[in-house]
């Protein structure tokens, strides 16, 4: 490590006691690999015409070769060979001339390179990518001192000969040694070193710094500044948009450590290290890297005024803000709050409105995360951001407001209007990321309102949209949260319709796109568990549902409690279920989680039914209905009406029940889940039966006919879900009706179906009369 720092002090550019990063203004320098690339470019510009297709492939190769890290000659030649074997041979020949010749051959090579200034027509024109690269290289070469030129030539020889020392071998990073003409058995000693290094690495694995020390680990050589910048930008982009394609956390950290070893001044690497350790939820290293980055950044901006727009005052503010964001991500709300206050104070002192806006948007996010109402703050933020022309913050604020509005029961048209406005903003500024979020949000809102078709349409829209990001242009999907949300909704919507094959397809895709360790994986895990739970409950396999409860509770506590109450209710452990529900309701009322409140009320009502307390269930249900209507939650409102109708039926007012039921029938058939459709029709049939009982003989037959029809439909829905318990009930009722109507063959058929199911199910089901 010593050598890393020692050379710092020979810098003639040290000013103010501070060595500026990149003092010499050299962003790139000549390496043997670069010479090979130059040789390739030279061949491409001068040699005889190459076939069009091959040329095209070569052209595509140029940029990655220029920007990527140094390759060994083997790798390099292989890549070129894949495109055009003829050129690869020519390049090899040229390198051979230089390496096996004398120093003057290399000098001659540089002298004969087409100078970008003279060649106006060629591809190497001075402003082209190739021309720029050549100019960089020529400049760097001309700056070399005598001994450096000699060193370069030596390393070129080594580079070339290492290709022959281990032909086709994949050993990387040994060129320095391979060329040494020692008579010892090289391979054995190398293996020895490798083993030792491994041991060393294992011993010191928990130490982050120790990795830096492993100078002899077979890592890649230093990257030039250009290469490093490209690498960092690429990885940071991938981390944000498509985590799967980025390097694995440990591999990326290794690369970064390597980079920092060779250039401790390269502060951006610290920032990437911060992002990387956020991926693995390592608060220690991420804090360390973040602070280190800003300590370094302060240096580079120090020329400006201390508190102006430029200069390090600015980075101070953002340093505090980033620290707040970090604590926010780790859920340390108090710490985040303190850091945020600090950022706000400094920003205020220096009149930095832009930074203040960022702080404000973090402030309301923090408030939201803490669970308190922050709509006033958000509104302020939107207004101010609009005033300072910060479209990103504006629409982010509006989206946040929409989310809050949706929860608080704002009407749909208001929300949709707001979203439409932000969409205009997004397209105007091509904020592709926010467009994705907006679509996902619309999906969620429609889903909440219980309009499954609309939700499905929005989700499909998002999934089929081409990405607008420049790097991934044309690729359909990114790995952002928005996509995860949309896909989860899609899975749940399909599950509602009983299309479990499609569900498993979607989930498989999710698993591939968002592997379990990534940050959005929790979304699909919860979704998967919920679907499995619902299935198990519908099938009456409560013992299967129970383990899911624990898993759900780990991901979402509220949801877990709710599901636990459901299981307990199904297992007839009424008292426990009731106490949980009471607790849950109190908690949800505190956090204003309306959807869950209504659901809890419904389950509580169901509990009352079990103790035949139909009359006590009634006010609860009415309250739930009022809440659902107030918040425009159609799906839940229909569900409540179902419950209400059932209660009324049990209270002996079937006419009323049927009347109420008709209100809900339409939305359920249009948007509801298959299960709900079946249940609604079954309930309707039972109401019709009850009414028929009071009618005169003639009308009775007609009414019973209607009931038979409803039952038939219900049976169809239930068989779609393969919900055997309910099917058994339906067949029983069908058999009874047919019996009453005197249709013996149909009766016998239904009776047989009932018998079969009953045998299969074994367990005596809950009394038919007692459940919805």
């Amino acid at each position: 490590m010593a050598s890393v720092h020692e050379s710092l002090y020979f810098n003639p550019m040290m000013t103010n006691g501070v060595v500026h990063a990149n003092v010499f203004g050299i962003k790139d320098w000549v390496t043997p690999y670069k010479i090979s690339v130059l040789a390739l470019l030279y061949e491409m510009t001068t040699s005889k015409p190459i076939a069009l297709q091959e040329r095209r492939r070569l052209n595509k190769l140029i940029l990655p070769l220029q920007q990527g890290p140094d390759l060994t000659l083997d790798q390099f030649l292989k890549t070129v060979e894949e495109c055009c074997p003829q050129t690869a041979y020519a390049v090899k020949l040229r390198l051979h001339e230089m390496a096996d010749g004398e120093l003057k051959d290399m000098e001659y090579f540089f002298a004969t390179l087409p100078t970008p200034f003279s060649a106006i027509d060629s591809e190497a024109y001075k402003t082209s990518v190739v021309g720029l690269f050549m100019r960089h290289m020529l400049l760097a070469y001309n700056k070399l001192s005598f001994s450096q030129v000699y060193k370069l030539y030596k390393s070129l020889q080594q580079y070339y000969h290492s290709h022959y020392a281990q032909p086709g071998d994949v050993q990387v990073g040994l060129p320095a040694l391979a060329a040494d003409d020692s008579d010892m058995d090289l391979t054995s000693t190398e293996d020895n070193v490798g083993e030792r290094m491994e041991k060393e690495e294992l011993d010191t694995a928990p130490l982050h710094e120790s990795e830096l020390r492993n100078e002899d680990a077979p890592s890649k050589g230093p990257l030039s500044q250009k290469q490093a910048e490209y690498f960092l930008a690429r990885q940071a982009y991938l981390l944000k948009n498509d985590e799967n394609k980025a390097l694995k956390p440990s591999a990326l950290q290794d690369e970064l450590n390597n980079m920092l070893k060779f250039n401790p001044d390269f502060a951006e690497a610290h920032y990437l290290s911060y992002l990387n350790s956020m991926r693995v939820q390592d608060i220690f290293i991420s804090t360390h890297s973040l602070l280190h980055y800003f300590d370094r950044l302060i240096l580079s901006g120090s020329e400006g005024k201390s508190n102006g727009d430029e200069g390090y005052g600015r980075s101070l503010r953002y340093a505090a803000l980033n620290l707040a964001a970090l604590h926010c991500r780790f859920g340390h709300y108090q710490q985040a709050d303190l850091a945020l206050q600090e950022a706000i104070r400094i920003a205020q002192e220096s009149n930095d409105h832009v930074c203040l806006q960022h702080c404000l948007s973090w402030l309301y996010t923090l408030e939201q995360m803490k669970g308190s109402d922050s709509s006033v703050l958000t509104e302020d933020s939107v207004k101010m951001a609009a005033h300072f022309c910060l479209p990103y913050l504006v629409s982010l604020g509006i989206q946040s407001l929409v989310q809050q509005g949706a929860v608080q029961g704002k009407t749909a048209h208001e929300l949709m209007d707001a979203l439409k406005d932000t969409d205009i903003l997004h397209w105007k500024h091509s904020l592709s990321e926010l467009i994705d979020i907006s679509l996902a949000q619309t999906t969620s809102i429609w889903r909440m309102y219980g309009k499954s078709t609309m939700a499905q349409q929005q989700a499909q829209l998002l999934l089929n949209m081409n990405s607008l990001e420049q790097v991934n242009f044309g690729v359909q999907q990114n790995n952002t949260e928005a996509f995860a949300v949309a896909l989860c909704h899609l899975a749940e919507l399909h599950a509602e319709q009983g299309l479990y094959g499609a569900v498993s397809e979607v989930l498989k895709h999710l698993k591939e796109q968002f592997p379990p360790h990534t940050q959005h994986a929790k979304l699909w895990m919860l979704c998967d568990l919920k679907i499995q739970f619902d299935r198990a409950m519908n099938d009456g396999k409560y013992h299967l549902a129970e383990p899911h409860v624990t898993a759900i509770a780990a991901l979402n506590k509220t949801e877990g409690l709710y599901r636990k109450a459901q299981v307990l209710k199904a297992l007839n452990r009424t008292t426990e279920a009731y106490s949980i529900l009471q607790r849950l309701q109190l908690y949800c009322e505190k956090t204003k989680y309306t959807e869950m409140i209504i659901r809890v009320m419904l389950v509580t009502a169901e509990l009352h039914w079990e103790s035949s307390g139909f009359a006590t269930a009634l006010p609860l249900l009415l309250q739930a209905l009022a809440l659902a209507r107030q918040h425009h939650l159609q799906a839940l409102a229909s569900e409540t009406i179902l419950h209400l109708a059932f209660t009324q039926l049990m209270l002996g007012v079937p006419e009323q029940a049927l009347g109420v039921l008709h209100e809900a029938m339409e939305p359920i058939l249009a948007h509801g889940a298959v299960m709900d459709k079946g249940r609604a029709l079954l309930l309707a049939a039972r109401c019709q039966m009850a009414i028929a009982g009071t009618r005169s003989n003639g009308q009775r037959h007609a009414a019973l006919g209607l009931a038979v029809q409803s039952l038939g439909e219900a049976a169809a829905y239930f068989s779609m879900l393969d919900c055997k318990e309910r099917l058994r009930d339906v067949h029983y009722l069908q058999a009874r009706l047919h019996h009453t109507l005197g249709q013996t063959p149909q009766r016998n058929k239904c009776a047989m179906l009932f018998r079969l199911l009953d045998q299969e199910l074994q367990a005596p089901g809950a009394a038919v009369a007692m459940r919805l």
Partner: protein, 539 residues
């Protein structure tokens, strides 16, 4: 203790051993070990003529290699290492083999240093390394497994391993080297650099030799176990090394580390009397003078050192301190920079430079300097503390918490970090944490005696007047107990005033507590901890 004395009883024997090891090291060009051993030998009484140890016996091989060795040694002394190695390549004797390998090693190091200047670009910095190391390691490891290495070659093998960052292996080899040749101080010193904690020290099996006591004392100083170190050195002095400048300087440094400034100053003055042209450790001496603000003495020291050798790290640090004391911070920074140019691994200079920049209100440069110090040594608590202070000055109390916490982690029993942490927490209105910090600072022995006062004020602010009174009372007792010292006379008066006021406050605390304490707080010594106070504790 008794065992130790009896072992040192035979000073004559020790002197003989020293003389023979001096000639051995001299032949091999190990100048630093020669210096150490000679210093020690000088401290002992001279031997009568007939007692002088006979020069080492010649073997057949030695005789054969004699001429080549002589030639090579002369080249070696002229720093023509490759040339020396070339003429030694065929030699068989152990001595020649060591010199052969050592020349190759030094040649690699020299080239590395030259390369660094000439590297291709700033990014290549880390790539420059001693190319000879790998070859040396391969050859030496072969001989090592064959058991053909003597004490000196083992030492060289250890150095090579350390340079290759194979620290575990290096420790083993150094231990082996000390067993093979206990009198070679270089091996002990290398071992000393590799041991990081006391458990590691205890786990090593070291040869039972009088030199081991020197090593242990040195080790204790390094590990900040000053009490043990002082005990060791004291017993060494008692057993006959009382004239050794080495031991005196080590004791002075140890006193400096535990902030016993008077003792340390006295010892340094004695040292300068005995060895007026000594430059080593003088930077520590200057730190002490700085803390005591002894301008004339510091000025004299600086001028004296410049006359001796102005291009030494220590000299530059002394001059830096001198200018800093005269409040010429730009010049001070310049000299610290020069010290760093002479030796970039000189960690103290980075930190001191950071302090200078702080004085100049150049916060960004200060942050940079501290960061560099941390990069050289992650465990430099002064740099962490300095960073914390910088951010505190920039009014970022939450941000600086991290740095103070780091510093506190590295020095859990240092009250200054705790007080700084407490102040930051207080600014953030985290009163519970602040109180804890202050109380802890008091419990670990408060240096500036401010913690209790701050705690009391905090209690007062929070209207917890009983607790506040309690703290004031302890504070006053504290001040009284060291009332003999003159500098606290003022504080004592203050304490009395406080006591009077407390009784008043108790009567009508809600109404007028702030008014009463308003003027008071202005004359209590609530000054900031000057960053440079820390310089006195550089290890």
């Amino acid at each position: 203790m008794a065992a130790l004395c009896s072992e040192f009883g035979d000073l004559v024997q020790i002197k003989k051993q020293l003389i023979s090891v001096i000639s051995l090291c001299k032949e091999r060009g190990l100048v630093h070990s020669v210096k150490w051993a000679s210093e020690l030998a000088f401290a002992l009484d001279p031997l009568p003529k007939n007692e002088l140890p006979p020069s080492a016996t010649f073997t057949e091989e030695d005789a054969q290699d004699l001429d080549a060795l002589g030639l090579a040694k002369s080249y070696f002394d002229l720093k023509e290492y490759d040339r020396a190695a070339y003429f030694l390549r065929g030699c068989r004797s152990q001595k020649a083999y060591f010199l052969y390998m050592y020349s190759r090693y030094l040649s690699g190091e020299k080239k590395k240093d030259d390369e660094t200047v000439d590297s291709l670009g700033p990014l290549e910095k880390g790539q420059v390394r001693n190319e000879a190391l790998r070859e040396l390691r391969v050859e030496l490891s072969k001989k090592h497994s064959a058991g053909e290495l003597d004490g000196f070659t083992l030492y060289l093998y250890g150095v090579v391993l350390r340079k290759l960052d194979l620290l575990k292996e290096a420790v083993d080899v150094f231990v082996e080297a000390t067993h093979a040749l206990p009198l070679h101080w270089g091996a002990w010193l290398e071992l000393c650099n590799l041991i990081t904690n006391i458990d590691m020290l205890k786990s090593l099996s070291l040869p039972d030799c009088w030199i081991r006591d020197f090593f242990m004392a040195h080790m204790y100083t390094e590990l900040q176990m000053i009490k043990e170190a002082l005990q060791k050195y004291q017993s060494l002095i008692e057993s006959g090394f009382s004239k050794s400048t080495y031991i005196i300087s080590q004791i002075a440094v140890a006193y400096h580390n535990i902030r016993d400034i008077d003792q340390a100053l006295a010892l340094f003055n004695e040292l300068r009397e005995q060895d007026p042209f000594r430059i080593e450790n003088m930077d520590t001496f200057s730190n002490l003078l700085y803390v005591r603000s002894m301008k004339p003495e510091l000025s004299y020291l600086a001028h004296n050192l410049v006359e001796i050798d102005k291009y030494r790290v220590e000299t530059c640090c002394v001059i830096g301190n001198y200018y800093s004391l005269r409040s010429q911070h730009e010049k001070a920074a310049l000299y610290f920079q020069r010290a760093l140019k002479l030796n970039p691994r000189c960690l103290g200079a980075w930190t001191l430079m950071g302090h200078e920049y702080m004085e100049m209100k150049n916060t960004s440069a200060a942050i940079q300097a501290y960061r560099h110090a941390i990069e050289v040594n992650k465990r430099d608590y002064r740099a962490w503390y300095g960073l914390g202070q910088t951010y505190e000055i920039l009014k970022m109390p939450f941000y600086c918490l991290y740095y103070y916490r780091k510093a506190h982690q590295l020095r859990p029993n240092d009250s200054r970090m705790l007080v700084a942490l407490g102040e930051s927490y207080e600014k953030l209105s985290q009163h519970v944490e602040a109180k804890k910090c202050y109380w802890r600072a008091y419990s670990v022995g408060d240096v500036e005696r401010m913690a209790l006062l701050k705690l009391a004020k905090l209690h007062e602010q929070l209207n917890e007047s009983d607790d506040a009174a309690q703290c004031y009372i302890i504070y006053i007792q504290d001040i009284f107990s060291c009332g003999e010292q003159l500098e606290h006379a003022e504080a004592r008066e203050e304490g009395k005033a406080l006591l009077r006021q407390i009784s008043q406050v108790r009567d009508h605390m809600e109404a007028s507590s702030t008014d009463l304490f308003g003027p008071l707080s202005s004359n209590t010594p609530v000054r900031r901890v000057s960053p440079l106070d820390l310089s006195s504790f550089s290890p």
